[in-house]
Symmetry: C2
DNA sequence: CCTACATCCTCTAGCGACTAGAGGTGCAAG
DNA sequence: CTTGCACCTCTAGTCGCTAGAGGATGTAGG
């Protein structure tokens, strides 16, 4: 058995060292065995689990959603309906967020374009912020 | 002078009561005068300021950016270059975020579509999460 | 074997922008 | 006068880490 230190686990999974310890502390990752000198010694499976978590985090899944996804992964004979539901919910969130950010972008563009680069009292950025009624797009 | 209570200030500005107190505590809003019984009494100008803050927050500006925007608003003879720069920076952020979310959306769609609604060991959602190499889009 | 240095350990506190709750006071209507 | 809501302050919690203190371990070179 080659021992994988936390540093190497971090490098291989792309999760930072303190974050690995954090995941262990919240029970997302099982506590690994320890060396004589009390240092963590990870298994290859832990690296996979960390990579899974990292990827899910990059996709914006919350820790609790990931916890559910991981329990599903741990028991591959279950129905994947929950995984499907979680992913679908996340998709809806992302679509909503894109819509709202797109409206926002239009708003910001109007602000920036309208700015005459003069003094504040003619500045459209400040003006639009002060008066919501000037919003051209129903972003909120 | 009609006194505006914190509750009415909240209703009129769309900022929640505890959040109004929070803004005061971090110096975003000047501490208002108090009634005999130590209750806050706001001016109409405070409502405008709160509405400004709320709108800026909805547009995703950070508190420190809003602090700068507010000092600009307080002195309308200044150049609006800073306001312009802040808005432009925010626009760049928003555009970046939209791009990344759009890639994410494609990823999630692939996951959800591929899901045969069977057991976990055939589930594409879990599979893709476990193996970053299966990502079709360079979202991260 | 000793030293230097990177890496590891635990623990606590901090980030942003609030939000929730405890425990108490003020105020207007019935 | 009492009911009941709105107000007050203060502390602690949220999420997902991140930073730092202060110390122990592991490894490579001399």
């Amino acid at each position: 058995m080659k021992k994988i230190t936390i540093g190497e686990a971090a490098r291989r999974s792309g999760v930072k060292v303190p974050t690995v310890r954090y995941y262990e502390s919240i029970g997302l990752l099982a506590a690994p065995s320890r060396s004589e000198g009390n240092q963590r010694s990870f298994e290859p499976a832990d690296i996979n689990r960390l990579a899974f978590i990292r990827h899910a985090r990059e996709l914006g899944f919350e820790i609790e959603a990931i916890r559910t996804l991981l329990t599903l992964q741990d028991d591959p004979h279950q129905s994947c309906a929950s995984a499907d539901a979680i992913a679908k919910a996340r998709l809806v969130e992302v679509e909503q967020r894109i819509r709202s950010l797109t409206a926002l972008k239009a708003e910001l563009e109007t602000m920036v374009e309208g700015c005459g680069h003069g003094r504040v009292d003619q500045c459209r950025v400040i003006e639009v912020l002060a008066d919501h009624g000037q919003c051209t797009h129903p972003h909120h």
